[in-house]
Symmetry: C2
Subunit: 293 residues, 2 copies
Amino acid sequence: MLLDEIRGIVGEKETEDDCSVLDLSDRHLVMTTDMLHEKTDFPKGMTDYEIGWMAAAVTLSDIASMAASPADLLMAVGLDDPSRLPDITRGASACCSSVGARLAGGDIDRHTELTIVSTAIGFVDQGKILRRSGAQPGDLVCVTGMPGCAEAGLGGDIRFWKNLITPVPRVVEGRAFSEGGATAMMDISDGIALSLADLGRASNAGFSLDPALFPLIPGIPKERATDLFLFGGGDFELIATVPPDQFPVAGVDATVIGVVTEDMAILCGGSPLPHRGYLHQWELGAGSIGINP
Amino acid sequence: MLLDEIRGIVGEKETEDDCSVLDLSDRHLVMTTDMLHEKTDFPKGMTDYEIGWMAAAVTLSDIASMAASPADLLMAVGLDDPSRLPDITRGASACCSSVGARLAGGDIDRHTELTIVSTAIGFVDQGKILRRSGAQPGDLVCVTGMPGCAEAGLGGDIRFWKNLITPVPRVVEGRAFSEGGATAMMDISDGIALSLADLGRASNAGFSLDPALFPLIPGIPKERATDLFLFGGGDFELIATVPPDQFPVAGVDATVIGVVTEDMAILCGGSPLPHRGYLHQWELGAGSIGINP
């Protein structure tokens, strides 16, 4: 994969987590960037305000996933039409404010297709950072919210349109997981199946999921709901591993969906979990059902 | 102008300098982002390695212009062809290393036109940061290098092709200006005329330039050389204001080209300096000769 080639240049450690990490004397600075395009990343029907919100949210979610508090966000906008900028900026600014961050600046450029790159930094005290590595066999696998909603919204379920277009970065929950003793964490923007694969690789561990525990979307067939839960993309919820004696975690409404195992396989109801979900187009295999189909 | 509208949302202070500034306890964190496109920003004939270098350099130059030391750079790349990524990454990594920074991560996406957004952070001690505001009447106006070279290179002067495509961020010079008592600073990537307009507005001051002092490109007609010097874009040199008793500044090979005045006009040889140079396409007026023609 392309990412593997880049790891050789940038470094394995630098590319493992949702954010890059810089050690300051008493705390870590975490930093992340995301590029979004109109055609592939913003579902049709979104307003420019919502586009700005989403562009900020995806990056702020990465900060949240390291248990950090976002401080500043920069936004570079390639515009097909300059009149769109004010509403995009208002949306991004509102999303930043909602999690205590500041829209601190950016860059404006012309582009054939609306292209937004947001970059955020945040801070987390030494000893409080959560990475993809660190999950221990026996830990509980916990998720926030109801994964699958965004994909359902994309598929036309209007109950979840807002989940899709104005995701809420789980900053409060991320910090609470850290305070509550979680051992590893990431966001599930690419879907639970792919996220667990990343978490397992970084932690040298596997997972055994129990479908009976999944918080499924009500009112749709169970099989479809399970599929959305495991493979749907676009939810900016958190998945964390928590030692059993630390659960429940104060301040987080999380659901246990399985346990961490020594064996590196990912099992769901005893069967191997297919490796699919949201995939970057360069890595597309068969069966992607993500928001970039 | 579009930027003015955004200032109302993001804040006047946030958009005044080359970087946004976040105050830590003992130092400032500075942060900046730039979007570049293949067709408008990368002159034809550049290799992918050089494209990566330039994408990093433009952002690192902004960090240098605040007298800060760059620490980390993130790069979001929208690729028309995935095979280009390794060389782009190598070029960006080399540029980072050349100034003591680290290519710390990024994001990869597909795009119809190669699009690169680099974002850098740096640190500068309290009291050592240089901004666009701060220039005092009587200060000397100093520039590094030989502005106009990049534009000359773009125009076919092969002596300066390297100036155009692999600009060197003036990190050492930026810090030296600060140590040597400079009062204001910025980089001149949009050309000297536009940079002085920004510096003057932020400092509530004007400038009187003496054409006899300009370090002009040798071997071409003086009028053309003067035009390149004042209005050419793409040079990532620094312009700083320095009290007369502090000049020369140790560690910087700078040329004095004029003085700061109380009157807010910008004069060159006693006549008003035209307001032109590199302009973002949305702001294009008559007479732009920048690298985004």
